[in-house]
């Protein structure tokens, strides 16, 4: 592939051994991330989007979890095979994460300054004074007013939107190559969501950071991402350029998903489409297409075998028996 690929995930599998059986949370996920790209991972709850990203930082709790296979090549080096010391060099430094709930991801007992400075001292080798200066600069960049004063406050003294700004400042303070944002705006109001997305966009562009954005909101993906992966029951069912996927979705699940979101720019007088049925229980899932019970175009073969990934156009692929050789 081209040189500017910084992260390559190949056939990643993450299983959880539970009392009820084997939960294949992520079952053969492959994608690439290029320099400066914003990649969206969309899916509903339980589709495996968060576990995918925990797995690539090796943050899956073991046991009950287990990375059952695959490779995560970060600048050519497999993260899954790194020693603990090596992975600590990557985590929070080269790849950093922000999470959905900024209250639970900041330590409530420590001042914001302590938490920001710790990161900088640890990864950048700065002394405390220089680290504090850099931290104030990052908070300012993240749009926090009066950062010199705010930095000595505790997390509960910040509002939800401000806390997420602190998280972003912390995540970007070591100038990472990749920022993983796991539902960064789900807990926030729309007007605050717009501010935070704008901030991520602006800072990633300025610092040249590639972003993996995990979300269930198609609207957020549409506004932010260059490429997207659509996940269903632990696998990527469709992948490609965001514009093309929204204009011409191929997988019946993607098609249904896009049609079932009410849209502000249309007069919603006609009935909303809805995908029938429930998302599947991923425990002990048989080797068939997990979407077939809900699919309008299901065929016999869908019930017996998981569809192979077929290329549909440049850089686009889909896992469905309607396309490729299976046709």
């Amino acid at each position: 592939m081209t040189d500017d690929v910084i992260l390559q995930v190949k056939d990643l599998k993450t299983y959880f051994k539970l009392d009820e059986g084997l939960l294949k949370a992520v079952d053969g996920v492959s994608f690439e991330l290029r320099k400066g790209e914003t990649l969206g991972i969309v899916g509903e709850s339980g589709s495996g989007k968060s576990v995918t990203n925990l797995a690539l930082m090796r943050l899956v709790p073991v046991p009950p979890g287990r990375i059952a296979g695959g490779e995560v090549l970060f600048n050519g080096k497999d993260i899954l095979k790194m020693s603990d010391a090596e992975i600590r060099e990557v985590r929070g430094n080269k790849i950093s994460m922000i999470f959905q709930d900024p209250m639970t991801s900041l330590n409530p007992f420590l001042r914001v300054s302590t938490q920001l400075i710790e990161t900088l001292v640890l990864h950048q080798g700065l002394d405390k004074k220089a680290a504090k200066e850099k931290a104030i600069e990052m908070l300012k960049l993240a749009g926090i007013p009066a950062p010199e004063k705010r930095i000595d406050q505790y997390p509960h003294q910040f509002s939800g939107g401000m806390r997420q700004r602190v998280m972003i400042a912390m995540a970007l303070s070591c100038n990472p190559e990749i920022l993983i944002a796991d539902e960064p705006t789900t807990a926030l109001d729309v007007t605050i969501q717009a501010q935070i997305l704008e901030l991520i966009n602006e800072l990633s562009e300025r610092l040249g950071t590639a972003v993996i954005l995990i979300t269930h909101s198609l609207g957020v993906v549409a506004g932010m991402c260059d490429n997207i992966c659509v996940m269903y029951a632990g696998r990527i069912v469709e992948k490609g350029n965001a514009d093309e996927i929204f204009a011409d979705p191929k997988h019946p699940y993607t098609q249904g998903l896009i049609k079932s979101v009410p849209r502000l720019d249309r007069e919603n007088k006609q009935r909303l489409y809805s995908i029938p049925g429930q998302p599947p229980n991923v425990i002990n899932l048989p080797d068939c297409c997990p979407f077939f019970p809900r699919c309008e175009r299901a065929m016999d073969i869908c019930k017996s075998k998981y569809p192979p990934v077929s290329a549909v156009g440049k850089g686009r692929s889909v896992a469905c028996w309607l396309y490729g050789e299976g046709k």
């Binding site: 007007t191 009410p262 909303l272």
Partner: protein
């Protein structure tokens, strides 16, 4: 004044919660002005959407309407009767016409009750109070009928809530709300906790049930696209007051209040081609805390169009076209 086609009328509703200093003396320190003078009316068969950000008082309004809170001030007229003045037994009778569907389908169903008991409970309570007469078999039949109407199998009636997914649980919550054949259903963010593919199923179910049973909804959501889809009219709330009321289509075509404009422009549209061309109005700052009385317009600090007169005077809802009201000095002068 008393208009018959108005099923629900809310006038000057206020809900202030006291907060205490804590400690030994536990002095009363002040009030949270959660709802601070709300007027609403809903016609029979209509859906009024109530939209706003967290902390704006939309859920408190709904709970005060349902008399789950005793309002600090104001009237809540259901079919012409003021619920805030009714004695307990008469209020119970009125509750038959007014039921609630809650946001969190995990917290609003008792985990120790079977689906049958959950859906039958309102009917049992009202039979016991002598307000309806239903035999055990009648109740049982009605439970099965309700479950099937909301898209669940009758065989699910012996199962417990934990055996269902979020969407199915919300269906149980809807069946329970419909058990007494209410006229008004108060919906407190009923689809916010659901996945996209399930959300559209439940929205369509609400629409079908409305058509079939002639229901009237007060529907709360923070997702503007959802509100537009389900509502005939929409009220936009900010810091305990309603800043704009309008027909659903009109509000999206011609939002008047600067807050409504910002809210609409912030809502993402699932289409990259459109998203790229959109101009966003980015509001600065956060919603102020509702624990202080303000002298001027509540939106003053964040408004793009703020003027001197907004600082001193509180705008009230005034007509701004047919069926369209707005509380903003851009459209009318302070009194």
């Amino acid at each position: 004044m008393e208009n018959n086609d108005k099923l629900l009328e809310v006038r000057g509703l206020k809900m202030h919660f006291p907060f205490h200093a804590g400690g030994v003396l536990n002095r009363k320190k002040g009030f949270i002005y959660a709802v601070d003078g709300v007027d609403l009316s809903i016609k029979k068969g209509e859906t009024l959407g109530l939209v706003g950000e967290s902390g704006c008082g939309k859920s408190t309004t709904l709970r005060a309407v349902a008399q789950l809170y005793k309002p600090t001030a104001g009237k809540v007229l259901l079919k012409g009767k003021d619920l805030t003045k009714l004695p307990a037994h008469e209020l119970l009778e009125m509750r038959k016409d007014m039921q609630i569907v809650f946001q969190d389908p995990y917290a609003s169903l008792n985990p120790r009750m079977t689906t049958r008991d959950i859906v039958a409970e309102p009917m049992r309570i009202f039979t016991k109070a002598g307000l309806v007469t239903m035999s055990k078999t009648e109740i049982d039949e009605r439970v099965e009928q309700l479950l099937e109407r909301v898209g669940l199998s009758r065989y699910f009636k012996n199962r417990y809530p934990h055996e269902f997914s979020g969407g199915q649980r919300q269906r149980i919550g809807i069946a329970r709300a419909l058990a007494l054949k209410p006229e008004l259903v108060l919906c407190d963010e009923p689809v916010s906790a659901l996945d996209v593919s399930i959300q559209s199923q439940i929205l369509n179910l609400f629409k079908d049930l409305q058509e079939e049973f002639g229901l009237t909804y007060l529907f709360i959501a923070h997702d503007l696209a959802v509100i537009q889809y389900i509502s005939n009219r929409i009220a936009v709330m900010y810091l305990g007051v309603i800043v704009e009321v309008s027909d659903s289509a009109e509000l999206y075509k011609k939002p008047l209040h600067p807050y409504t404009q910002a809210l609409l422009s912030a809502a993402p549209i699932p289409d990259p081609a459109i998203e790229r061309k959109r101009q966003r109005i980015l509001l600065t700052g956060d919603v102020p805390s509702p624990d202080q009385r303000r002298s001027g317009c509540y939106f003053y600090d964040r408004c793009q169009h703020r003027m001197d007169k907004c600082k001193e005077n509180v705008p009230t809802l005034k007509d701004a076209g047919p069926g369209h009201q707005v509380a903003c000095f851009l459209y009318h002068e302070p009194a």
